[in-house]
């Protein structure tokens, strides 16, 4: 665990990495996605845990993405994700469709260090027909026919989340969004942006400890205030519907996306440098 700058975090994500991102209700680091755009990341393989939102659409629009594995891509109330839709239509990204509990199950297999885990349902879905890496087998514990899906363990190269705070020991706090802990356990590296750093060790506080991801799993963290924006962050700040709706309108076209990114992603460095 080390504290680093946001841009250093982005620099540590190699081109082509399998990068896991939580969706818009589960602490995505939009700040890190924007930093990856600024660093000009290429060929990223994104994993939606279990679905994808704003950060994924940004990275696709900026040409950072080769593949997306997810159960859905959406901007919620603002509708379809425009750069994702355009990329699917143009065939510029490889899309691997999944279903939410399958992604959770693949990560849980990696978390446990086992090669696969079973999941009910899915048999008869066309998703399965397009996933040669998923297998249906006879339940070995049943004496009657009982086909069941086996899912391979999935270990992301990097997972990125935005937590509320880090402490002096390098633990990070995600509150009730404990599914982020499974993501941390399953991934080779966890990069975290936080609103602030607090003194002490949160694992010594019985009331904070259940919402902590231990420093064991945290490779590096960076302070990025409002790093989830426009997505909500627990009880810290709400969803900025106006910002996302304005993005959705602008990003309908490639030119509109570029103008939006110029203002909201690339110019920030210049603005901050001038301040």
């Amino acid at each position: 665990m080390t504290q680093a700058s946001l841009e250093a975090l982005a620099a540590s994500v190699p081109d082509g990495a399998l990068l896991a991102l939580p969706p818009d209700n589960s602490l995505p680091s939009v700040a890190l996605a924007k930093a990856l755009m600024r660093r000009g990341a290429k060929g990223l393989r994104l994993l939606g845990v279990p679905v994808s939102g704003f950060a994924t659409d940004l990275l696709i629009g900026a040409g950072c993405v080769a593949e997306v594995q997810t159960s859905a891509v959406s901007l919620g109330e603002a509708g379809f994700a425009p750069r994702f839709s355009a990329a699917v239509k143009a065939g510029t990204i490889l899309l691997r469709d999944a279903t939410c509990p399958a992604i959770h199950t693949m990560l849980q297999a990696a978390e446990k260090g086992v090669p696969f885990m079973p999941l009910r349902g899915v048999v008869g879905s066309d998703i399965l027909a397009h996933r040669p890496d998923w297998r249906v087998v006879q339940n070995p514990f049943s004496e009657t026919p009982d086909p069941i899906l086996l899912l391979p363990a999935l270990q992301p190269d990097v997972a990125a989340v935005h937590a509320v705070m880090a402490d002096e020991a390098g633990n990070v706090w995600v509150g009730r969004r404990r599914e982020c802990a499974t993501l941390a356990h399953a991934s080779r590296r966890l990069l975290v942006t936080v609103e602030r750093v607090v003194p002490g060790n949160m694992l010594e506080d019985e009331r904070l400890a259940p919402g902590v991801i231990s420093a064991t799993y945290v490779e590096a963290f960076a302070v990025a205030e409002r790093g989830a924006h426009p997505v909500a962050l627990l009880d810290e700040y709400g969803f900025d519907a106006g910002y996302v709706a304005a993005y959705a309108r602008a990003a309908r076209t490639e030119e509109g996306f570029r103008a939006w990114a110029e203002e909201h992603v690339f110019n920030r460095i210049a603005r901050e440098a001038a301040e």
Partner: protein
């Protein structure tokens, strides 16, 4: 608020009657997923009518019951602790197959929909599903979906707890008969007839000799929808509450 019944109110009351249908498996715990204000209103109407039902609303910001995100919803469903779920579809066909993938060549070279979410699991593992889609047109209700996110019925050896109970649209209510994998017209909303439903539905379905009109919500149901139900919904669905009930969220 004037007395005229709004279409959203009729749909919510219709869904509430289906939830409470004594012929269907009992409902103790309902989960409501992505942006679904009308199903959410139906669930609140059931709860506020005095029925002891637990509601888990995934998108409610305060009081969200889950401490392990959506993973917990799927685990709860696997355990058999969720009795009813709502699903929609970019396309729905006459065998109750749903398509949330897209049209044209895989994975949606025509129109790409957002994706399947948890449907390929929930449709199997919930004792009953109510399909809900406001748009009722031949482009949504198709003879055969382009891609199956989740199948309407399964062969007997495939583990499955339930199927669709009904399909509710902006024009009518269809019951689903899983043994025949076929929809039966149950009622048409005011202004519709068997002929208009046939014209707007891409799949074939059965209909009784006498087609009944979907009843209006009762005075009690309307009072609850406009009062206690709206109170519960205004935080999560501010735009819906403003549009349907002219209710503004507290600042």
């Amino acid at each position: 608020m004037s007395g005229a019944v709004q279409p959203e109110e009729r749909l919510a009351a219709t869904l509430a009657r289906l939830i409470l249908d004594p012929a269907a498996p009992p409902v103790r715990h309902i989960a409501v997923g992505a942006a679904s204000p009308i199903p959410a209103a139906a669930c609140w109407l059931v709860a506020k009518s005095g029925h002891p039902v637990r509601l888990s609303l995934l998108h409610k910001r305060s009081g969200n019951p889950f401490t392990e995100g959506t993973r917990e919803l799927f685990d709860l469903t696997g355990q058999g602790r969720i009795d009813l779920f709502f699903l929609g579809g970019g396309q729905i066909d006459g065998q109750a197959n749903i398509n949330l993938i897209g049209t044209g060549e895989w994975p949606g070279a025509g129109v790409r929909f957002p994706g399947s979410f948890g449907s390929a699991f929930m449709y199997f593992m919930t004792p009953r599903t109510i399909l809900f889609r406001e748009e009722h047109s031949p482009r949504v209700l198709v003879p055969r979906v382009d891609h199956v996110s989740a199948p309407g019925v399964s062969p007997p050896e495939v583990f499955r707890r339930g199927t669709a109970q009904a399909l509710v649209t902006g024009r009518c209510v269809f019951r689903f008969e899983p043994a025949r994998a076929r929809f039966v017209l149950e009622s048409v909303h005011p202004g519709e007839s068997l002929e208009t439903i046939r014209a707007e539905t891409g799949f074939d379905f059965d209909a009784p000799d006498q087609v009944v009109v979907t009843p209006d919500p009762s005075a009690e149901e309307l009072a609850l929808l406009r009062g206690a139900v709206c109170d519960e919904m205004v935080e999560t669905y501010p735009e819906f509450c403003a549009r349907v009930w002219a209710r503004k969220a507290a600042a």
